[in-house]
């Protein structure tokens, strides 16, 4: 795990995240959000979880980001008139950030270096999914089906 790469990716990711949270235009924010997730996926790669990184790109860029921009498109008439920010919220978020950073820096047990690890193959993940995690997998399948139907029902035209 290269430190330089990590720092560069982390900075880019955080910059994109901050842009996603603060940019005035919603579309730009959504695209920054996509960039953030690419960054997170890259961090996953660096942390030795390639499969999850690919899945993250696949699901978030391919599906969630497209969904978000679609939603922006469908609610476009409202996009122009963005209102001022809620400053209390910003203050709170900063407070939480400060508190958490303080807590992390204060905790000594997390100042450790990653142990050596053989890279984890897709095959092992597949086997784990099909053996010890088969019930969660089924539940997630059910959940996704339910979410799909629920989303469809929600956006169906209201009958007059």
């Amino acid at each position: 795990m290269s430190s330089v790469a990590f720092v560069i990716i982390a900075i880019l990711t955080l910059a994109a995240a901050l842009a996603a949270a603060t940019l005035q235009k919603l579309m730009h924010a959504a695209l920054s959000f996509a960039a953030t997730l690419v960054g997170v996926a890259a961090l996953f790669f660096l942390l030795g979880a390639e499969f999850v990184g690919l899945v993250l790109i696949f699901v978030y860029i391919g599906a969630v980001a497209v969904l978000i921009v679609f939603t922006i498109l469908l609610t476009r008439r409202d996009v122009g008139k963005d209102r001022g920010a809620n400053w209390t919220g910003a203050l709170l978020a900063t407070g939480v950030f400060g508190g958490l950073i303080w807590a992390i820096l204060k905790t000594q047990s997390v100042a450790i270096v990653a142990p050596h690890m053989r890279s984890i193959s897709v095959k092992r993940i597949g086997e784990a999914l099909m053996t010890s995690y088969v019930w969660p997998l089924q539940c997630v399948g059910l959940l996704l089906t339910a979410a799909l139907i629920g989303a469809l029902v929600l956006v169906m035209e209201e009958k007059r």
Partner: protein, 395 residues
């Protein structure tokens, strides 16, 4: 002899890297990657240039006319002329466009298309980047294309662009599902997401005669056809080119692009096409393996590009032959026919596996596919009777 010809590019790369002996590991890694990247870019940009002119020539032949034949011998230098034209054209950006997004869209779309090329094995030991989940990488990168297309449509701030982008995304999302599901049987049978392994699994010959390519199994053939059709849609080619249907919405999401940006879109489309056909060759047509043992002396990359070229020819052929479909027809076709058939392929592959991967499995999986196909065609039959066509002007 043949071995050294086969490995000539691999050895050349080793030779170049041998200059750097003694450099730190990361330098070697970066150098190796750079060599791969430049090789890829060189090969595929050349192929793109060649394809653009060949397409026009073949289309011309299909339509009973000559293609471009003025620039260079047989018009082969036409792409150079086109390139120069594109480069010196004025780059127009609409005044009310979202400039940043408008600028980023072609870059992203080209990057995604080129990235997808990285995991395909072009020959023996000739995979640019071996990733454990290579197939997943291919689709993950491919899925970003949708976002790029959307950016192009949105950034142009033009109704035609937006409509084209919506159409493109709708059909790309719809066909991404069958695209992935038709890959599943191969992945299941091989037990790996790595393209190298998939190619290696198709190495042998049944009875020393018929190559063990997946296209020669019933499920493989079905999946290959479905994959090919879905790939056609993914790359927005005729007959599924509604997103840029000239007669309806000018040029879809590319309406507001001109000059080099337009050329980039054009290039991305072709490179996406190469990538998807390359994946089809890898998955179903045995990758770089030769179709007969006696022909193994021909280098592996030649075989790969021969197969790729054959598939690309079919693309052009289809473009010259078929009329454009309607949007609702494309959607109906995807959700009512292609998707169920793709699932059937998965089941048929499982049947094939559990029936012993031999002749018995072949027959059983054929049976499964035949049943589902018959049932679907009965269910989906609209029973519409078409009046006999009358050609009034083409007699």
């Amino acid at each position: 002899m043949s071995k050294s010809v086969d490995q000539i590019f691999v050895n050349a790369k080793q030779w170049v890297l041998s200059w750097l002996t003694g450099a730190p590991g990361w330098v070697l890694q970066v150098a190796s990657s750079l060599i791969n990247i430049f090789a890829l870019l060189f090969v595929f940009l050349t192929l793109f240039a060649l394809m653009s002119v060949l397409e026009r020539k073949i289309l011309g032949r299909i339509q009973n006319r000559y293609g471009p034949n003025r620039v260079g011998p047989f018009g082969l230098l036409q792409p150079v002329a086109d390139g120069i034209k594109m480069l010196i054209k004025e780059d127009i950006v609409p005044a009310r466009a979202d400039k940043l997004v408008h600028f980023l869209a072609p870059i992203l779309i080209a990057a995604a298309a080129i990235l997808a090329l990285a995991v395909i094995p072009y020959g023996r030991n000739m995979t640019p980047f071996t990733i454990d989940g290579g197939i997943l990488f291919f689709f993950a990168v491919g899925s970003t294309t949708e976002l790029a297309v959307f950016m192009a449509g949105w950034g142009s701030n033009n109704k035609f662009s937006m409509l084209g982008a919506m159409r493109a995304i709708a059909q790309m999302i719809s066909y991404e599902l069958p695209l992935i599901i038709t890959v599943l049987p191969v992945v299941m049978v091989v037990g790996s997401l790595t393209p190298d392994r998939i190619v290696a699994a198709q190495a042998e010959y049944t009875y020393g005669l018929v190559p063990r390519w997946f296209v020669f199994t019933p499920w493989g053939a079905t999946a290959f056809i479905l994959f090919f059709v879905s790939g056609l849609v993914e790359s927005n080619r005729t007959p599924f080119d509604v997103p840029e249907g000239e007669s309806e919405i000018v040029a879809g999401h590319m309406t507001e692009y001109s000059g080099f940006k337009y050329a980039t879109f054009f290039m991305a489309e072709y490179i996406g096409m190469f990538a998807i056909t390359g994946l089809a060759v890898t998955l179903y047509l045995g990758g770089w393996h030769s179709p007969a043992r006696s022909l193994e002396f021909i280098p592996s990359y030649v075989w790969f590009f021969t197969k790729l070229g054959a598939l690309l020819f079919v693309y052009i052929w289809l473009r010259g032959t078929l009329p454009r479909t309607r949007v609702d027809q494309i959607m109906n076709f995807a959700w009512k026919f292609i998707l169920p058939m793709s699932f059937t392929c998965v089941i048929a592959a499982a049947v094939w596996h559990y029936a012993g991967r031999g002749l018995r499995g072949w027959l059983w999986s054929f049976f499964v596919i035949a049943i589902v196909y018959t049932a679907l065609s009965m269910l989906l039959d609209t029973q519409r009777k078409f009046a006999p066509r009358v050609y009034r002007f083409a007699e």
